[in-house]
Symmetry: C2
Subunit: 130 residues, 2 copies
């Protein structure tokens, strides 16, 4: 229902960890081995590999083994799907707030019905508007 | 380190649940009460409230109690911060891939050194390029 895409659970979950975001950050600059990804992180190689697996399961990254080295690279399509989900909602909110702003500006331009004052005018009477 | 913003842990964690994304979806259309948010979800009001609390702790939504009704509304600023984090990485990846594409196109325009074939050309010989 309502744009529910199963993968987004895993994508946002993968991005909810600062270490994994650091890995995504590093991979956005180019492919890297698992040990390179672990370098700035104070954790065991096993822990790094676990994070890599979470990222790979989400689809955010892909990895390939050549000899004894596993090289990871980012998948911008999955990154974009998460970005789009958020952007669509954010745009909807901002449009709604814009319409509300326009409505309030229009009502402010209307002739003063007597019980309300326009913006910028000062009055000692309590305002009815919120 | 590297754009680490503490709140993003909570924001992405909050977005990692389909029920909470449904609530964000609903709130992007306008404010709603907790019970309205729970309507499309098959869960107790206590469970709905717990999800609302996770969303509120992340900063994605705000809530206000008037009488016995708690009304929630979305905070587009926090939505945007998550969107921007992803967009910045995605842009970086795409620029890098564009540069790589340009480089490959340039090398394809160079005189054939004999051991490589340009794109579009067919050959029965195995390619050295990847």
């Amino acid at each position: 229902m309502l744009n529910y895409v199963p993968d987004l659970d895993r994508v946002f979950q993968a991005l909810a960890d600062p270490g994994r975001r650091l890995m995504v950050e590093r991979l956005s600059q180019g492919p890297a081995s698992v040990s390179e990804l672990g370098m700035p992180l104070d954790m065991s190689l096993a822990a790094v590999l676990q994070h890599v697996q979470v990222l790979e399961a989400s689809g955010l990254i892909r990895s390939q083994k050549a000899g004894r080295t596993r090289t990871c690279s980012i998948n911008p399509v999955v990154l974009r799907s998460a970005e789009d989900w958020i952007a669509d909602r954010r745009t909807m909110v901002e449009r709604r707030l814009d319409r509300l702003g326009e409505y309030l500006a229009q009502t402010a331009d209307m002739p003063d019905p007597g019980w309300a004052t326009g913006p910028g005018e000062t009055t000692n009477e309590p305002k009815e508007q919120q």
